[in-house]
Symmetry: C2
């Protein structure tokens, strides 16, 4: 397979943790193309990984769209071009999310017929398979028909990522009955019902509620990028608050600490389930190439997991499958 | 003080748990007016609590607005009328949330100048004071200027409920910088900035993100009722999933169980913080009377806490303070 392009300069722990994750993936047999500055090897040990040179770095706090237009020789833009030009099979960055989306969208383009790409995020579910939530932030405002495409793309993604043959798709709303929610949800409910009747690969189960996000009711949950991003970050913050509260309690006396230490092994599976590093990141679905968005705080292990995840998506040809599933409404649609 | 009207028939454990909670509150010296069917005392022991008779009950799955218009002799409608008519100082129900809102809105009316009432929900924060989140579901769609009123009402509520002299108000968005978010958030950001410049009682700190909901960055977070309801239920589901995962791990072997039993006392404060019953429920702010919305699953203890909470809000005259703070744009505004 073609190598996976890894933005060496994206993320809180770049380039050290990123390159270390890439080296670990290469050691497991995954071909890698690092994208970084010409002097990267003076900063960190890059082993014998090939380097695609890029002279600029987009910082975490820059406006994504503007930065991509201005910094044409940035690691993110060069990584996306490597996928576009057939030098790489996928791109991965733990850097600026907006710029990652913009570079993928502007350089790879959309899949023909896709109205808008979406971020497919993975929500861990203790005691079950994770929930795919999309859009987790690519589009602050959406139209109802985009949500139908998110449902299709999310189903394909979920099938290959988690091996669920017929993922159940829920529409995130405030009440389970049809017709609950705002006008966007009401329209989307109708469109999803029609689309599912017409499409055996789309199992629309109706509205779901917030409590189902970290639950077992649906495998894929579709929503607008504003709500999706708020939900994702609310859960991240909530999990962090509870884990920190638990650790404070466990350490509150030496006796409690001894019992807690003895209990720790029992908690490792739950901890692994909830750890965002386990899944390595989210996928930007709908662009014409595999683009993985890793968490800004990614460690070596998170990057390794993100690379493995990208490889799976490449090998399953998720992009080709989305392309086959989405029929352009308008034959003149030019996603370029 | 006037008695607190308690809907004896609302909630999963009605009337038993509801009446038991009301009896406990009466034993602590809070005057109570039960609202229930004439034969309530044949169903449960109501002690010597006074009963306002109502022949109908609105079920949990009925459409709230329709049910309130049709069931004019329901417990919920009679409870709201008791507040309107000066027979009660507050109403409480653990029943149908939509019908509770509709009965309060239609019978008590809005406070003059308030564009829309909002549900002020309480989000527990381990290691700190809770966050007031509004609107948690009264208005699936909102206008930007309603969010300014939610900020004012939420500040007053937070001040009295949690004794925070100058609550910091955040606008829930997807990025902290001004201008992040959808068009509603952009407009609301501007309006909140202007309102805060003009109003020393409103401390608008800018955008906050999902991770701040269960965090320490803001005391009050304002959003539309769609997002707020999704956030509230997402956290409820997330907390339930994690607690259930913990209990499974703790019980996985007899040895682990012994250590977990020894640790339990250290976890009680965190458990109490996270338990929705601790706060007893949410308040519908903006209607012309105190209306408390208790959780459907409320136990006796949750109802007792909700009654105590209602009493505090009555004694602090939160409704009068909101009324003084909100200046009607339109002197002909008739909230009737």
């Amino acid at each position: 397979m073609l190598p996976i392009a890894v933005d060496a300069m994206g993320g809180d722990h770049a380039p050290g943790a990123i390159v270390a994750g890439a080296l670990a993936a290469a050691a497991e047999g995954t071909p890698i193309l690092l994208v970084g500055p010409p002097d990267l090897k003076d900063q960190v040990d890059i082993g014998d990984l090939p380097l695609l040179e890029a002279s600029e770095v987009i910082e975490m706090d820059e406006d994504g769209g503007r930065a991509v237009r201005r910094k044409k020789d940035s690691t993110l833009v060069r990584a996306a071009e490597a996928v576009r030009d057939g030098q790489a099979s996928a791109m991965i960055s733990a850097g600026n999310t907006g710029a990652t989306m913009a570079s993928a969208l502007l350089r790879m383009g959309r899949i023909r017929g896709v109205k808008r790409p979406a971020i497919a995020a993975i929500i861990p579910v203790p005691g079950g398979s994770p929930t795919v939530l999309l859009d987790a932030g690519a589009n602050a405002e959406v139209q109802a028909d985009w949500l139908v495409q998110f449902a299709q793309m999310g189903s394909i993604f979920c099938r290959h990522r988690f091996g669920i043959a017929a993922p159940r798709v829920g529409l995130l709303s405030i009440g389970e009955e049809p017709g609950k929610g705002d006008s966007l949800r009401k329209e989307a409910f109708e469109l999803l019902t029609v689309a599912a009747a017409d499409n055996p690969d789309l199992d629309f189960i109706g509205n779901v509620e917030g409590r189902d996000v970290m639950g077992h009711a649906a495998d894929v949950i579709v929503t607008d990028g504003f709500t999706g991003n708020v939900v994702l970050k609310t859960l991240e913050g909530g999990m962090r608050a509870v884990i920190s509260g638990l650790l404070d309690a466990f350490g509150s006396t030496p006796e409690y600490k001894a019992h807690a230490d003895a209990l720790m092994p029992s908690l490792l599976p739950l901890y692994a389930t909830l750890d965002p590093e386990t899944y390595g990141g989210a996928m930007l679905v709908g662009v014409d190439g595999v683009c993985m968005i890793a968490h800004g705080s990614s460690s070596q292990r998170a990057i390794l997991n993100a690379i493995n995840f990208a490889r799976e998506m490449v090998e399953a040809d998720v992009v080709g499958e989305i392309s086959a599933a989405i029929r352009p409404d308008d034959p003149t649609d030019d996603p370029g």
